[in-house]
Subunit: 383 residues, 4 copies
């Protein structure tokens, strides 16, 4: 259970860190999308280990093989399976871990839940699993961009409590990628890099915050009550490894404002946005002057950019001595070995984007169903 | 779409603020549970409007009628429908709103999505809808308590940036209820009450943070990857009206720690906890010395108490002048009228509990399925 | 579990035969549909007991109350709850049944599954539950008709092995309703009525077959592999009380044909039907000359009328002596008492229609999602 | 959409007839199951093409690679991915088909729904897709057998209207496999083989009926109302390629009986069967004397063997001349070429078993959730 996400743009992932392969099946990607495999591979390259001194030195090409759902370059609308073979797994690094439960990891909770577990590299609980999500997110990105002009960009916004001073509230992917830390504020980026390298040298790890912005999302996406768009975004982000917090728009800081300060006034925009056929002109042209709401009101998008932030705890695999118990309930002190990221943030940037992209793709299709079901077209009319 | 939650303990809500009734259908509550309707009614009374000067003066008895699924005092395992009639709706308060879009509300987004909407009192987007969730949460509470000894208590932890100084990390429901604000720190409670009344007097509103603690949750609940327990908790909480942020365990503050500070060391407990039949003794007895994790590792409960915090924005309905547009796209200034809460926090406490209870009930049943499917019993053996 | 159906046009029913009420929540009915409550009530009247000597004499007005989801005559797109109060339940008829398990009924299986059960009138397993499905089906009927021109008509095609000789392969609802048995072949209708009354007189019951035809269904509805449209139709029909068999198109009789006889040749129609934007003209104009397929190929509609048949066993509640066991495992002989249908067929006609309508509404919305997600419109273009 | 099945034992398939591979992800197989890969391979071998003169001569080893979810021989409870590479695809056989729509096939309906399609060998609509279902069914079989002692055996019961005269109502797998046609009545088997070979010689094809029996299924599996066990069995079987009809127990023939003939009387068995903790002794020991019900009452299993029958139309790919249209809407006469089965029945036997096995595995886990959630154990008690 729990390895799928989405109602209409449905993805199911499989694979362990040291098993033969990782992969994902996408059931619900619309047919007729020309899939750009180079762009997909480029998205995966951003998550790949071994990119810099800031990330684990495990070497994985993360080459995607398309097993189904693509014909003559176009998606067919049926199951799209993307496969990524593991190549550089070193299972011997984990021999000691097979008999004890590392603090901060899923070792003990998987043992409680499943009785048995693949302990090599964290098995299914490994961050390596996210390669499959990024691959699926890359497909969602191409469809959302081609169909709606949606663009999703994330960046490192805070490291260990230090917040970046961005010049622009809408950094481009190029600006983000120009920095090894993926922080588009050049001065902060350098500082953050130093902080991470120092922590690494000390055998320790850091945490921080990734921000994300989705532009081009039309108003009217989302659902009332349980499946609010912000709720599904929260779920998608909080399901990323090491994510411990999520906020949308003003978030926790917004609780310091008064209602009269927090509400975003509205004005009439020049251009009407797409919407339900029965929507009054006023709603189509209503535009928030500010964006404390983060692009979302009552679970549904306003047409303004979506803004979210995700807190990632410091990486659990540090190299200092730790106390724990082994599988016989004997208490043990141990030190981790192996290859690990001193800070998850740079590689978390593509993960957060993938989480947001998959959520948006699913809600886009839900909205198409609703709007497509509206009356007002003559029966039998070709669309 | 989007009016249901849960895979196995599945709830579907219906009803608008000024329609005939609100209600919920629970499909999946185990059979044979003796339902205590007085206790259920008491849970609803905590959410009810008109409890004090801090809340809206709308008067609703919120009397529950059980329409199905209960026979001779026991749940039957089939659809349990709970109905709450609306009694004190004053639709005339909303006549002005029918033609304009209130900032901070779902008026404009519902119009974009659905074309038409019930504007009276926010319609389906009203906080009144949460009565149905609280009713369902009360059923979940009784089952989780009787079957596992789970207890869920929430409280107001921050108002407008002021954090309460709690004596105990595990306040009781009685301590919470002793305060009109539902803050179990007596000195802070009084201060918070003053802050809210002052804001009310000024025609303005406040926000803040609700904390929640779930004790008695066994290790092993949750799912890997997408349906992590913290992800489903985040979704449930972020789907509450006005909730803009969520964190579990150390949350955003935890990003300031190093990995060596954040990891919770483990020791061997005296008593083994319930788990999968194949779980090694060491995992059953592993116990976190600290709880930065908030009771969750890699999406699965550890057996330690679950700890979460939810940020609620200041109530959008203040009484100062606001700028907006109407349904013809004409810009308008307006002032709200009617009866509203100056601060959502006291009444958000039972909502957060309901969100957590419903999520736990669902994951409890998922875990029963998994553990019940384990080999090791002889075929055909009576359970 | 198991009280909901549909992914996008999702219905959840509740209520027992002798409880306070029956009802249904529809989550996913498109907004803006003008709901004709008289037509809805007329659909329910066809299922109502007490219509003639052929049906049980229980008297129920089956008056529907709309609790939510309707505003100023239009559906709002949020949960639509329809409630039907029970009025003429005589629970004393079931006092003997509370302690024994009637053959052919769910008494024993509900006891095995749930431990406890509401034995009055079969509780949740009663055919009375289907009132809620018929109410939901009536909503689906109005939407499918207004949006696509779909029309669904069912009729009694066989009684106790005697097949009706229809003049037309597409009887109208009026022709069906003209007959007490709901068989649109006047001569057969009279004969069937006699057969049923004779069985009734003998304290016995009859079974038979209901046929159904759905016209106006566009090509392209359905899904490959597991959610084939015929598979979902089969599930919906086989979930009706007493239904033991289902077939589509040529069905069981089609197994006697050779492939060269069974395949429906195709010709080019004058008019292209609605479809995916990328569909070649040839597929839009392909038309089956015959219809052994019953309007479905590989799980997807062809544009030809859908044709299905459902086998209903003889009613389990006859009045002759039967052998069974009671709750202490003592063997007992008993005779049923109370008010019951001697043949389920006349009242099964609206049930089969409801099953088909709900399935079609769900697949219609799935198809709208897919087609709405197709590329080819300029980004941001108003629909 | 529509490529998944099951709520708790959830399978998602992918792959086309002439693409790189077929496969399935199982999410929900309980952990700790020792998976017998030889037995799994043996199950696949029964579906494999090229087994005899009765089946297509395409040569596929159908060798399964386990990509995830298995560690040291045991299932881990996380996504289990099984991959089967295609080896003997001859796409040139389909060059003519790329431009026209074959009668009886999904060519035209896929084109209507998706706009584009992989025409090679039927693409996703190919019967080759079922290899993935059979692989998943083999996993379900091993778990159901080890955990409950469930055994599922299917056989060819009718060919072109000729019904087999079985000696026993419960043929063994060995008896079925002893016959090339998979009919366990030796005399009929020979006759059926001749009929099929004659049809093949004439360039034509035959249809028929497959029967299936599931023994060892405990009472209490299934759900009321929409997810009746017979409804889910019907859906699973009707989603198999070429299946046009389904019946359970007495099925269509049962409509000829009177209620007094059809009801299965009950007696008290010696041995109580497993059930809900609150089930009265009488229900646990109630035993049907006959089995017209086919092991199911009101959607829930009785404990008696499940009995179903599935109608398969004659194979659509015959070699006689047919009339159809091409993608430009020009009418065409054509003859099929390539390698095809003259009768689907022998290879449909393992498909029907897989459909039943997957449905049972899902309902088994649903029942475990329900029974595991029952009160009566002390809180915190180890299971």
């Amino acid at each position: 259970m729990g390895n799928s996400s989405g109602l209409l743009f449905k993805v199911t992932t499989f694979g362990e860190s040291h098993g033969p392969a990782l992969g994902v099946v996408i059931d619900g990607c619309p047919s007729g999308l020309p899939l750009d495999l180079e762009a997909l591979q480029a998205d995966l390259a951003r998550r790949r280990p071994g990119q810099s001194a800031l990330t684990t030195q495990r070497r994985e090409a993360d080459q995607v093989e398309v097993l189904s759902g693509l014909f003559e370059g176009l998606t067919t609308g049926t199951s799209l399976c993307l496969l990524i073979r593991n190549q550089d797994a070193r299972s011997r690094d984990y021999s000691q871990v097979s008999e004890l439960y590392r603090p901060g990891h899923g070792d003990v909770t998987y043992a409680l839940r499943y009785g048995v577990r693949d302990y090599r590299g964290g098995g299914r609980a490994s961050a390596r699993e996210t390669a499959a999500r990024v691959a699926a997110g890359a497909v969602a990105r191409q469809w959302l961009s081609a169909r709606y002009g949606v663009e999703v960009v994330a960046w490192v916004d805070e490291v260990a409590g230090q917040r970046a001073s961005l010049q622009s509230s809408s950094p481009s992917r190029e600006e983000v990628e120009a920095s090894a830390v993926r922080c588009p504020a050049p001065s902060d980026s350098e500082r953050f890099e130093q902080m991470i390298l120092e922590a690494k040298k000390a055998g320790d790890t850091l945490g921080g915050v990734v921000a994300v912005r989705a532009s081009g999302v039309p108003g009217g996406w989302g659902s009332p009550v349980f499946d609010k768009l912000e709720a599904d975004l929260a779920k998608a982000c909080m399901s990323l490894p090491a994510c411990k917090g999520f906020e949308v728009g003003s978030g926790f800081a917004g609780t310091l404002l008064k209602g009269s300060e927090h509400n975003d006034p509205m004005r009439a925009a020049e251009r009407a946005q797409m919407s339900h056929p029965l929507t009054p002109a006023g709603a189509q042209r209503a535009e928030q002057v500010t964006n404390n709401a983060g692009g979302l009101l009552a679970g549904i998008s306003t047409g303004a950019p979506l803004l979210c932030r995700c807190a990632f705890k410091p990486v659990s695999t540090h190299f200092l001595q730790q106390d724990t118990v082994d599988h016989t309930a004997t208490e043990q002190s141990f030190n981790n070995r192996g290859r690990h990221d001193p800070c998850v943030l740079p590689r978390a940037v593509p993960l957060v984007e993938a989480a947001v992209l998959l959520t948006l793709a699913d809600h886009a299709l839900r909205t198409e169903a609703l709007w497509g079901g509206a009356l007002g077209r003559s029966s039998g009319e070709a669309r």
